[in-house]
């Protein structure tokens, strides 16, 4: 493969690759990755378009196109996953437990009650963060200073 740089009349730099057999400059993975990025961009555009729409008919069409762009995004993602090109970064049980505990803590503080609270408390009692040998609330206080706020009474 040879690589040389040409300058066109307008002073624009152009790269020319001369590969045997005319190989692509982009791999299939590059191509799909760019398609994925394009869909993300379009989904964001249409999400914004919906917020800007005063007209019902136009809004409905923007919403419909938005949904299709999201579905197309997923389709490309699925293809990439099938090819083994996408690595999902799963959260650890510990990280999940920490966040669960954070909000259970926040929601039960100050004696304020909210609908369905009892089921959250029951869930918290038998739950995994107790394995770490910490008292309920202790873990949160270690890692979230200034965290103790009364539950907001909406």
């Amino acid at each position: 493969m040879t690589h040389h740089i040409e300058h066109s009349g307008q002073g624009v730099q152009m790269h020319q690759m001369q590969a045997a057999g005319g190989a692509n400059l982009l791999t299939d993975k590059n191509i799909l990755s760019d398609c994925l990025a394009s869909q993300k961009f379009l989904a964001a555009c249409y999400n914004h378009a919906v917020t800007e729409s005063a007209n019902d008919s136009l809004r409905r069409d923007f919403m419909g196109i938005y949904q299709e762009e999201q579905n197309n995004l997923k389709a490309i993602f699925d293809v990439m996953t099938r090819q083994g090109w996408y690595n999902l970064n799963y959260a650890s049980h510990q990280d999940i437990a920490q966040v669960q505990h954070q909000f259970q803590q926040e929601m039960t503080q100050g004696g304020k009650h909210f609908p369905g609270q009892l089921q959250y408390q029951a869930h918290a009692q038998g739950h995994q963060f107790n394995q770490h040998g910490l008292q309920a609330g202790q873990f949160a206080q270690q890692h979230h200073p200034g965290f103790n706020q009364p539950y907001r009474n909406w």
């Binding site: 398609c35 394009s38 869909q39 378009a49 005063a54 007209n55 136009l58 419909g64 762009e69 293809v79």
Partner: protein, 68 residues
């Protein structure tokens, strides 16, 4: 007969432009791909972009009429 606001007109302009670029790009990508399955997926999405462009063009062309 539809009255377009300025933001709506801006959105139509940006989104139709974007869709037209995507039609070109996805078309080029489908050509470049050697794998049949990938080609098919890319072509399907390209067709979706063509439909989107048509929907938005209809709104654009219907706008500003009957307002004289």
């Amino acid at each position: 007969m539809s009255n377009l606001t300025q933001p709506e007109l801006m959105q139509l302009r940006e989104d139709i432009s974007a869709e037209m670029l995507m039609i070109q790009k996805f078309g080029a990508y489908a050509n470049m791909c050697n794998d049949q399955q990938l080609k098919q997926v890319i072509t399907n999405v390209q067709r979706a972009h063509e439909r989107h462009r048509d929907i938005l063009m209809r709104h654009l062309m219907a706008a500003g009429q009957g307002m004289m």
